[in-house]
Amino acid sequence: MADYVMFIDPNRCTGCNACRIACQTQWGLAPTLKFNSLIEQETGKYPKVQRLITPVQCQHCDDAPCQKVCPTGATYKREDGIVLIDAQKCIGCKYCMVACPYNARVINEHGVPEKCRFCAEYVVNGETPACVSTCMNDVRVFGDLDDPGSPLHELLKNQDLIQLRADLQTKPRIYYAKSKRI
């Protein structure tokens, strides 16, 4: 069974927004619906200024608050770690949105809170998620930890890693390189 994770290095991100729109066209989303966001922080005083741009999307938490609160089981976790929504079962209560610490969900035209799908139907065929392949700065690396050849092993070993809101113990599947700037 695959074990999908993503590595994101915000130190490389320049905020071009290509990931957002690549994902939107991949999934046929309307222009205002998006699965990934960029959190921009400017710090310091002129002329000592820094900016950090952190791409955020569904973290595919192993201990997913959204899944815990979903009354109908519409939100579920696949064995390979990907958290998905079965639109057939979703009553649209938005409890998952309230519970998600990462603001990862957006309501689609059907009233279903959708989110990044880790390109579930494509990665199983070995394809790379659209947000990853389009990124000119190689901010993102996607892979399968069960694949010994994956470059992720090296990356995760050699980098100072953090996870977003680790204090909430959601066990995200996205690992971030620690910010060198802020």
Binding site: C16, N17, T25, K34, P47, E121, S133, T134, M136
Partner: protein
Amino acid sequence: LPQALKMDFQAFAEEAKHAEVTRVPSLCNGCSSYCGVWAYVKNGRLWKIEGNDIHMKSRGHICARGHGIAQNVYNPGRVTQPMKRVDNKNNFQPITWEEAFQEVGAKMKAIVEEHGGDKMVWACHGGKESYAQQFMDIIGSSTYITHYATCFSAKTNIWQNMVGGMFNPDFDQAKTMLFVGRNYAGGIIPAAMKRITEAKAKGGKIIVVDPRFCELATIADEWIPIRPGTDLAFFLGIAHTLITENLYNQSFVEQYVYGFDEFWMHNKDFSADQAATICGIAADKIREVARELAGSAPHAFLDPGYHGLAAHYQNSNETMMLNIIINALLGNFWKAGGLFPAASTTFGHPEATYYGPVAAKGIRADGAGEVGEYPLVEPSRGIPQRIPDMIEKGRARMVFFYSYNPLRSAPEPEYQKKIKNADLVVSIPYDWNETSLYTAHYILPENHYLERTEHPKVINGNIYWPATQVATRFKALESTTSSLDLLDIMKGLTKAYGIENLYGYTVEEELEVALGPIGVSVDELREKGCIELMPSVLPKEEGLTFGTFTGKIEFSIGAWRKEGYLGVPTWVPPLVEPAEVNQFRLIHGKQPWHSHIMTTNNPYLMAITEEKKGTYMWMNSSRAGELGIQEGDWVTVSSDITSKQVQVHITEGLHPECVWLPSTYGTFSEKLELGYGQGVNYNDFIPARIDKKTGHVMGQECIVTITKGGK
């Protein structure tokens, strides 16, 4: 409506798997990079695009604009069939292609017969050829104008004069990269950014000099805010340091530089200390940067730049000269991690099918390269911002605009609107851009790029790549409107004009003939999308020659001396300076998710603008504090020629002396509903001026007065 919205995602993905998805290679038309893309087409509709891994500008990566522009096939702002102006109030009436050809062709004929063929102006974005040249050769027109004077003509002109052509940076091997007024992360070439971030990961150092904390600064080792318009002083300070501290590559200079002594004679007193008083960067910092560069040389470069400084100031020409001089002092030409010329190749041409009479060429209507007018301006590029002037003086009577929108991309739109006074104005756009709406008598829409097959292009320029690449567009989608390919439009027009068989080939035939000499078949190109030839530009130690008169890099420009100027650069101040407490220099720049001025009607890209408050004008927080301006406040911005309202973004990341505008907004074509009236544009505020030597627009010689309120 996107398909996925109508069903759930699993069904969508299933369908994608089972529906027939074809993959067609093309070249993005979002900007001059022409990145290689794969268009995925499902049930006859565009699904998405992906980058072509081979293409040297994209290396598999596509920027936000690329994704957005592909979806423009379905943009409601497209012109869907030929249009004819019916009144002075921008009302048009649809006509058939046959009517359009007959009417336009007849008018062309009448104008040429009465006034001569040299009264025709062809103005286009330019770059990768069009079919117009062949027709202009026959009727005797020289005035083929491109957009370059609004983009970077100071750079290309100076490089041609001093070096004999452009050189481009090799990021991969660089140890120190100095970017001054060049923001690769905002003025994007995807593969360049990929290589810059990779070089950084390998230990390369990035220094960004920009009045604004630009996107590239976010990943830089150092951001040095400079007083806008004073880069020339900063460069002179660096050159002075390199020379006085003996840090420059003397043997390179001895072998390959002409005019060093002349340069030094005029600049030996311009020290880093003097530079510091002008550019606001501490003398020690200037020296530190010079030493840092010299320490890494020749694996170091000062990026030659693109738009950022090359059409902006009275001193842009000299600034570009210093760019070359600093790189030459570092001795980095033809060195790994330094600068290289572009690899190139030549295509075959279809045999000529026209053997009729040919008129003698007239002078250029814009005076570019003409004695007594603008002798130093490159005639191959021209002076697009003065088309109204040429019309007023009777030097231009029929003007064609192809894929070009000077009403929004050139200065002073109110002045540009006079273009409609010409006897005949024809625009060949794909959408309802301002030039078409306000000036054209006829609009002849071209197909979207995904709807056309084209003759091949050499992929090179701006960034170093050792091998030539060849690529083209293959038709991925059936046209959804009744627009045509340019070749078919030109065939129709010239035939109606009375030349039967000027373009006696189909584009497929042309493609095959073009590829012949380089031994590539059309099928192979279609299969790979982009073909790389053998590497031909590799590091060289010895025997360098440059395409100048002396075969060396010339620090003193002969053509300038001939015109009575000093041949070497010396300090030239900016033309205008802010003086009052509420005055600022208006500067501008690219936003990563918009292209020039042509993406403001794209719903995906505008959704990003909406979310990021992308139309806001940046202002330094301390200046804003003094004026009592807060984030999101409306202000009135006034220059000599106009006054407009815009909202303000307060930041620490901007030099206090200027305000910064994203250069994309201020769309004023009502037919582009999404973009219409969003934000303002720097071109609103500047008069249509011409730099004497290289013809550029001096786009940042603009002081604005800012007062709170207004909306």
